[in-house]
C-alpha cells in the first residue's frame, strides 16, 4: 500500500555547479523511480518537477560545487533547512574539474585571464570549492557520475537512518576483481591506486587508464604514485595536471607543497 506523503521523509535534490550528471542519473533510475517516489516525499527536484517546495527537509542531496556567491547562499539555506546533508558526485564531494587549480593561490589572476574585464552582473563568482568548504556535510556519495546501485543502496540506507556503506578501497581492487591486466605495469599512467572504487573499474575494463574521477581514496599514497609515474618517464607537469584534474581539495595540499615546482 502506498504511504501517505506526511509519513515519508522529506527530500530535496539540489544542483550547484556541475554537469547535472548526478541528478540525471537519479532520474535515469527508470525502473526504480516509482519506488524512489514511493519511499520518500521528494519536495524539491528541479530536473524532475516544477512544483518544488523549499521548506524544512529531512534529507538534502546536493550535487555540484560552489562557484558563485548565490550558490553559497543557496547552500547555506539548504543546510539550515535540512537535518541531513549528503554530498553527491565528485564536484560536491571534492570540487571536481572546476576545482583543479585549488593548489594555486592565483584564482583571481586566472579568472581575469579567461574572462578579462567582463562585468559579472548576475552574481559574484568565487573560486570553485566542494560544499564542505562552507557547510557541515553528513555523508558523501562520490562518483562521476554517482553509480546507480550505490546510489539506490545509499538512498535506502539514509532513509532508514543508516550511514552509507561504500567501498573504501581504491579502484585497483575492483580492477583485479574484473581480472584486468594492470595498466601501470604496461607503463600507462593510471590513477587507479589513488582513486576510490565504486565505478567497477569501468575505464580499465575498456583498456583506458583511470583518470581519478571518483576522487582520492582515503589512504591515497600520492608520493609513491607520483614517483612511480616519474620513473615510467612521465614529466613532472604532466603528472601534476593529471592528478589535479578531479580531486580538488583532496589533492591541493599535496600538489601545492611539491618540491621542484618551477612555476
Amino acid at each position: 500500500m502506498e504511504k501517505e506523503n506526511n509519513d515519508k521523509l522529506k527530500i530535496g535534490i539540489y544542483e550547484l555547479t556541475g554537469c547535472a550528471g548526478d541528478a540525471l542519473l537519479i532520474l535515469d533510475c527508470e525502473k526504480e523511480l516509482v519506488d524512489i517516489f514511493n519511499a520518500a516525499d521528494i519536495q524539491s527536484f528541479l530536473m524532475a518537477k516544477s512544483d518544488n517546495i523549499d521548506e524544512e527537509l529531512d534529507i538534502a542531496l546536493v550535487e555540484g560545487s560552489v562557484s558563485t556567491e548565490r550558490e553559497k547562499e543557496e547552500l547555506l539555506d539548504i543546510r539550515k533547512r535540512a537535518k541531513t546533508v549528503v554530498a553527491i558526485g565528485i564536484c560536491s564531494c571534492f570540487g571536481g574539474i572546476q576545482a583543479a587549480f585549488l593548489d594555486q593561490k592565483e584564482w583571481e589572476k586566472n579568472f581575469k585571464k579567461i574572462y578579462g574585464d567582463t562585468k559579472m552582473t548576475h552574481t559574484k563568482p568565487v573560486q570553485s570549492k566542494p560544499i564542505d568548504a562552507y557547510i557541515k556535510v553528513d555523508y558523501y556519495l562520490p562518483g562521476c557520475p554517482i553509480e546507480k546501485e550505490q546510489f539506490l543502496s545509499t538512498f535506502n540506507r539514509i532513509l532508514r537512518g543508516n550511514p552509507p556503506e561504500l567501498y573504501r578501497f581504491p579502484v585497483c581492487v575492483e580492477c583485479k576483481w574484473n581480472e584486468n591486466d594492470c595498466l601501470l605495469n604496461k607503463d600507462i599512467p593510471c590513477l587507479g591506486p589513488i582513486t576510490r572504487a565504486g565505478c567497477g573499474s569501468i575505464c580499465i575494463n575498456h583498456n583506458l587508464p583511470c583518470v581519478g574521477c571518483w576522487g582520492l581514496v582515503e589512504e591515497a599514497n600520492l608520493t609513491s604514485e607520483f614517483q612511480l609515474l616519474q620513473e615510467k618517464g612521465f614529466d613532472y607537469d604532466f603528472i601534476k595536471k593529471k592528478m589535479a584534474n578531479f580531486s580538488g581539495t583532496g589533492i591541493a595540499d599535496f600538489l601545492g607543497n611539491l618540491k621542484g615546482d618551477k612555476k
Partner: protein, 352 residues
C-alpha cells in the same frame, strides 16, 4: 595411482564429452595474459600458459556474491554460485593453493560457500613450464601428489594422465577408447627427461627455511617502514594470491522496503579498512604493519602450523605489484640478498 596415456588430438574431444553435464573452466587468452573462463569453444583453451591473472579460487568463491536473500519471512541462503564445474588446466602450484584454502575453510568453522563449490568441482590439473617469475620449486609446489581428479602431463605428442580419484576414473570411463593403458619404456623415459629439464628451468629460488627466523629477527627492522612508504595499498597482491581468503560482508537493501541481500566480497589485510573496528579504532593503521602481517602470515605463521609456507611460488605478486613489493623482493631483502625494486629506490622525502 594409475597412469595412462592420451594422444594429443584426443584431448579436446575428451573435454567436450566430459563437459556435457558441467561447465568447463579453462585458461583462455585475455590481452597478453590468461584468465580462467567457462569455455564452449575448445580451440580457445590454452595449453602452454603460465599463471592466470586471478588464481582459480575465483571459481569457488567469486570476488563478490550473494550469501542470503532477505525478505519479511526471514532469510534464505543463496548458493547460486555453486554449479557443477570442471576446472581444466590448473597447474600444480595452484592446486597446492586450493589445498591451502581447504585448510583455512575447514578449520573451526566450516565455510559452506567454499566447501559446497569445492565438492561440485572436478580438478583436472595440467603440467606447466616455469617462466622467469615462477619459483614453485623453492616452495616444493611444482609437483603435486594429491588434490586432483586427473592430472595431465604434457609431453609434446601425448599426455600422461594420472588418475587421482574415483571421480577422475569415471571421466576416463566415458571415453576409454581415447586412452592407452600400456605405457612403453620410451614413454617413461620421455617423462623422466621432461621432468629433469623442467626442474632445471627454475632459474632462481628463495630459501624459505630461513625466513621464519629472519622475520622474527627483523621484526623491528626499518625494512618494513620502507615497504610501507612505497606501498600503494591497492590490495592487488592479496587479490591475486592463490592462498588469500579474507572477505567482508555488506548489506544491500532494496528500495521497496523489506527485502535485500547480503553480499560477500574479497577483502585484503593490506587495505586500511580491514583492521578497523567499531568506533573507528584501527589496529594496523600503518601500511608497514599491514605488510608485516601479510608476510608474517605467509612466510612464518603458516609454516609453524602446517610445516610449509602459504606461498605456492606462482609469481603472481611479482608480476602484479606496480611498486615491486612481492615475495621475491621481500624474501630476498630479509635474506640480505641484493635485489632491484621500486620500493628500494623510492624516496618519501623528495618528489621533483
Amino acid at each position: 595411482m594409475r597412469v595412462i596415456k592420451l594422444n594429443k588430438e584426443n584431448l579436446f574431444p575428451f573435454l567436450e564429452v566430459i563437459s556435457e553435464k558441467a561447465d568447463l573452466w579453462a585458461p583462455v587468452k585475455k590481452g597478453d595474459k590468461h584468465v580462467f573462463k567457462v569455455v564452449d569453444d575448445f580451440s580457445k583453451v590454452e595449453l602452454s600458459t603460465t599463471r592466470t591473472i586471478l588464481p582459480p579460487r575465483k571459481i569457488f568463491l567469486p570476488p563478490t556474491f550473494s550469501m542470503f536473500n532477505i525478505s519479511e519471512k526471514g532469510y534464505e541462503e543463496d548458493f547460486s554460485h555453486v554449479t557443477k564445474k570442471i576446472l581444466f588446466g590448473i597447474h600444480p602450484c595452484d592446486i597446492h593453493g586450493l589445498l591451502t584454502l581447504d585448510n583455512f575453510f575447514k578449520q573451526d568453522y566450516l565455510d559452506p560457500y567454499y566447501l559446497e563449490a569445492r565438492k561440485n568441482t572436478l580438478i583436472l590439473g595440467l603440467s606447466c613450464w616455469p617462466d622467469e617469475y615462477c619459483f614453485a620449486k623453492s616452495t616444493n609446489t611444482h609437483i603435486i601428489e594429491e588434490g586432483f581428479d586427473l592430472f595431465f602431463t604434457d609431453l609434446k605428442d601425448f599426455f600422461l594422465v594420472w588418475i587421482g580419484s574415483s571421480q577422475g576414473d569415471d571421466l576416463i570411463r566415458l571415453k576409454p577408447e581415447f586412452f592407452d593403458e600400456n605405457l612403453t619404456d620410451t614413454d617413461i623415459q620421455t617423462y623422466i627427461r621432461w621432468q629433469t629439464e623442467r626442474d632445471k628451468a627454475y632459474k632462481w629460488g628463495i630459501n624459505f627455511n630461513a625466513l621464519p627466523d629472519l622475520i622474527e629477527l627483523k621484526y623491528r627492522d626499518s625494512l618494513w617502514e620502507k615497504l610501507g612508504d612505497a606501498c600503494l595499498a591497492c590490495g592487488s597482491c592479496t587479490n591475486v594470491c592463490p592462498t588469500c581468503n579474507c572477505y567482508n560482508i555488506m548489506d544491500k537493501q532494496f528500495l521497496g522496503g523489506k527485502d535485500g541481500k547480503m553480499i560477500r566480497y574479497w577483502d585484503a589485510c593490506t587495505l586500511e579498512e580491514y583492521s578497523e573496528i567499531a568506533g573507528g579504532e584501527n589496529f594496523r593503521k600503518k601500511r608497514a604493519d599491514r605488510l608485516k602481517l601479510w608476510y608474517t602470515h605467509k612466510l612464518q605463521a603458516y609454516i609453524s602450523k602446517y610445516g610449509k609456507p602459504s606461498c605456492v611460488g606462482c609469481g603472481r605478486c611479482i608480476v602484479t605489484c606496480p611498486v615491486d613489493i612481492n615475495v621475491r623482493t621481500v624474501g630476498k631483502a630479509l635474506l640480505g640478498e641484493k635485489e632491484d625494486a621500486f620500493w628500494l629506490r623510492f624516496n618519501k622525502e623528495v618528489t621533483k
